[in-house]
Symmetry: C2
């Protein structure tokens, strides 16, 4: 395998997969996202070229993967979360297909469930939510909010931190009750994690100062947090 598109997981470096870490340890070229833990970048062997993607366009990155892949090098593209869940892994994969460079995809733990989980929120829970919809919220004005407001179950908005106020407003306009429990989770799974919980109608104001990156969770499952984090506190006391 010459190029591996590897998901690093949600932040905490122990949440990478065994295969993902094995690929990093064999890399000759490592191209990594800004949000990937430095501990993982440090796992690359001495002599490995470490390239931060910061300042590179998506086309630059694809070109880099193709160029090094063509030379038969072990290239690892280390991405936050999972490569195919709002990770643009598909675009890099298609560039490699077009260039006929062999590649593989190593999935990662997506933020989708692990970040709410780290805040004590199960995205699905029997009798409460049997569905979860994840979406990219950055283009909040062009979102099909009508469809999102009506779908059963939990909503998880990626890149939702900066637009939470407008997102909540639009969901409510389209019929989502303002009383629906909601949460904003910043720096999920990391020590700097911050969680803000409020009804959908108040979450925008409540989370105005929440750091980014942040995930927005909307749905009745947010109400389970109270019961679940009680233990976390209890566990700390033991």
């Amino acid at each position: 395998m010459t190029v591996s598109l590897v998901g690093a997981g949600p932040g905490d470096p122990e949440l990478i997969t065994l295969r993902g870490l094995a690929r990093v340890r064999e890399a000759e070229v490592l191209v990594y996202d800004r949000l990937v833990a430095s501990e993982l970048v440090d796992e690359a062997p001495p002599g490995c070229a470490r390239i931060s993607r910061e300042g590179l366009s998506q086309d630059d990155i694809s070109a880099l993967l193709v160029a090094h892949g063509r030379r038969g090098r072990s290239v690892v593209r280390l991405k936050g979360g999972d490569p195919f869940v709002f990770g643009r892994g598909g675009e890099e994969a298609l560039a490699l297909v077009r260039a006929r460079v062999p590649f593989e995809i190593v999935p990662g733990v997506s933020s989708l469930a692990s970040v709410p989980q780290a805040a004590g929120i199960p995205v699905t829970h029997r009798g409460v939510s049997q569905a979860v919809t994840a979406f990219a919220a950055n283009d909040v004005e062009t979102l099909d909010v009508a469809g999102l407001a009506r779908v059963p179950g939990t909503l998880v908005a990626f890149m939702g931190g900066a637009v939470v106020e407008r997102l909540a407003e639009r969901l409510i306009e389209h019929g989502k009750p303002a009383s629906t429990p909601a949460a904003v989770v910043s720096n999920g799974t990391l020590e700097e994690q911050v969680v803000v919980v409020a009804p959908l109608g108040a979450i925008g104001a409540a989370a105005r100062e929440a750091p980014t990156p942040a995930l927005v969770v909307v749905g009745e499952v947010v109400a389970l947090r109270e019961a679940l984090v009680e233990t976390a506190a209890h566990a700390l006391a033991v």
Copy 2:
């Protein structure tokens, strides 16, 4: 930590996280799902009590975790996929809360994106799908299909293999075009993986013989598979 609810990932044993494997290796009691790879069960130390959950009710399992947890044992509950994505981890967590037994959750790679990915299907892809909805399809007659048929982006049906024909029928009745690309992925990420691809209107008949467990994927992203698996074939030939 006495009880760890650990996600084992989608099937392939190398897709467990570092922390998940570390917990298994320290376990004094291991309670594992039928679909968890035997290689992972074998990682538990000599002397660890290994308990298959087969034949146990959800209440039995919760009681088992509480009983061993109360004795201060290192208990690992190893679950397929992720504990909080249709994994009923929330129920076990709440039982531990009620019993005041300290616990942690170690997320896993969910089948949600990794199984479609193993079949060459990115659940999100820029310009094609900016949302993904996962739902449990086993109770197909009670599903809010109207909401699911209207939500933008990709649909992923867990436990959808046995009901794919009826699910497709109901989605089409509620306005999902019969021409929407669809796939059924059986034994995803494993060597025995089988993929059936057809338009939504034909997937029921096409996948009638598909083995379970299977995931159903519906959406335009399925059409990307053709371009993406070309390389898999190419990679094998290299």
